[in-house]
């Protein structure tokens, strides 16, 4: 069977009807994962026992497949009376999955900040949360912009997993084209190219942001 470029192009608009879903899930999951990951890392540092607990939680999240987590949220939780709509379950699943990785990234970003920064904030009489949000967080973000961006791209590329819980994202739509027409090459190439363009776009955006952060305060 020859690859039919015209057919490939013709299915693009249909696949793109899932673009909005893919994008908002990516953005929501990235934000969710960042907030969760930062919270986990802050709790991990707060005291010894909570530290052990968070360490375990972060490792557990990173050591289980994202699909298992998604199935758990979408199929197991309802058994216990917690029913979450598919898209929300997807956002929650990806947020939790990537929070584990981002917590690690944040750990590195904070470890590389000089201990004197914490001490200076403390010595000035700042509350712990002011030290965290006004002193540590901005410096951490500068350190971790690049790896954080990588995980955002990774979250984008993980959205097709949500096809298994019937979220109408782009891979699911491409599969629909495939199973209706019995032609898989064209929709797969089309969806692959769309993801490629999106990923490159996010990477460029992050690079630009990183440059901006670095230029803002010459150290």
């Amino acid at each position: 069977m020859k690859f039919d470029l015209d057919f490939a192009l013709s299915v693009v608009p249909f696949i793109l009807t899932g673009l909005a879903t893919t994008l908002w899930i990516t953005v929501a999951a990235s934000v969710g994962a960042s907030v969760l990951g930062f919270t986990f890392e802050m709790l991990r540092r707060s005291n010894r026992w909570l530290g052990y607990l968070m360490r375990f939680l972060i490792d557990a999240i990173r050591s289980t497949p994202v699909l298992v987590q998604l199935y758990f949220i979408y199929f197991v939780l309802p058994v216990y009376g917690v029913t979450i709509p598919a898209a929300m379950a997807g956002v929650l699943g990806l947020s939790i999955y990537y929070s584990g990785y981002l917590a690690e990234v944040f750990k590195g970003g904070i470890d590389s900040i000089d201990a004197g920064q914490f001490e200076a904030g403390k010595a000035l009489g700042l509350r712990r949360r002011d030290v965290i949000f006004s002193v540590i967080l901005p410096q951490m973000l500068r350190n971790v912009a690049a790896p954080m961006g990588n995980y955002f791209v990774s979250a984008l590329k993980a959205t097709p997993y949500l096809a298994v819980i019937a979220v109408p994202e782009m891979l699911g739509l491409a599969m629909e084209v495939g199973s209706n027409s019995f032609r898989y090459a064209e929709p797969m190439v089309a969806v692959g190219v769309i993801f490629l363009i999106l990923a490159v776009g996010i990477t460029q955006l992050v690079r630009r942001l990183e440059k901006k952060l670095l230029a803002a305060h010459t150290r």
């Binding site: 000089d114 001490e119 200076a120 010595a123 009489g125 700042l126 002011d130 002193v135 150290r219």
Partner: protein, 250 residues
């Protein structure tokens, strides 16, 4: 003499202070009382516990036994609202520890705005006043990385002064500076001392100690082995360890 009237408690009162790092005792039986407006220089060989001692005064390091009172309030691990008490204790670090992501002005206003909850304009005015006092008013919009070491340390002093502390702690403020920048920082510190600031300075600048200090505290191996006015200390140190220390300096 009869008991002093408690019009003002001592600025700092340390009694029977002990501190361990694991099994190693870094501070032994430290007793030190600093009156308001008094200027103390703490000196001694490296590893003698000077920095640890003044870091206990604002509880950047917790002590294990003994009491520390600052401005009449007892400080310790379980002291509630420790962060509020620290606002009255300024600290200047060896490596400045300015916030690199904030401008000079923002470095000075951060605590005013977050801790004292002052509006921006008011905080800016206070910061400009103190930047003027450390003779660096024209650099307010630069980032710390754009300043020399001496300028950075003067900003750090201004940042601490902005909180209007009752006591200032200096932890080797000139040790990380090139020789030509030491002078500008010492001048600012001397001004501060003349204005009556209560100061505890850990420093190796013996000329500063001689001219500014009311009292020199000499530490060795975690103990205060000698305390004297600078004249006595420099001309006739009593303790052999102090004599040895001074002979190596001069």
């Amino acid at each position: 003499m009869t008991k002093e009237i408690q019009a003002g408690a001592p600025a700092v009162r340390i009694a029977g202070l002990q501190k361990w790092y694991g099994s190693f005792q870094v501070l032994h039986d430290i007793d030190l009382t600093v009156q308001p407006n008094e200027r103390i220089v703490i000196c001694g060989p490296s590893g003698s516990g000077k920095s640890t001692l003044i870091r206990c005064v604002n509880q950047l390091e917790a002590h294990d036994q003994g009491t520390i009172e600052v401005n009449g309030q007892v400080l310790g691990k379980s002291t509630p609202r420790m962060h509020e008490l620290r606002r009255d204790i300024g600290m200047v670090f060896q490596h400045f520890n300015l916030f690199p992501h904030l401008t000079v002005l923002e470095n000075c206003t951060l605590a005013l705005r977050k801790a004292r909850r002052l509006p921006r304009a008011e905080a800016d005015d206070i910061a400009r006043h103190y930047l003027g006092r450390v003779r660096i008013p024209e650099q307010q919009d630069k980032y710390p990385g754009q300043l020399s070491g001496g300028q950075q340390q003067r900003v750090a002093i201004a940042r601490a002064l902005c909180m209007n502390p009752k006591v200032m702690l200096f932890d080797e403020p000139t040790s990380a500076l090139d020789p030509e920048m030491i002078k500008e920082v010492l001048e600012v510190m001397t001004d501060l001392a003349r204005d009556g600031m209560t100061m505890l300075c850990v420093t190796h600048e013996m000329n500063f100690a001689r001219t500014v200090a009311d009292r020199v505290v000499f530490m060795d191996a975690g103990r205060i082995v000698e305390q004297a006015d600078p004249e006595t200390f420099f001309s006739a140190p009593a303790h052999p360890r102090a004599r040895q220390f001074l002979s190596q300096l001069l």
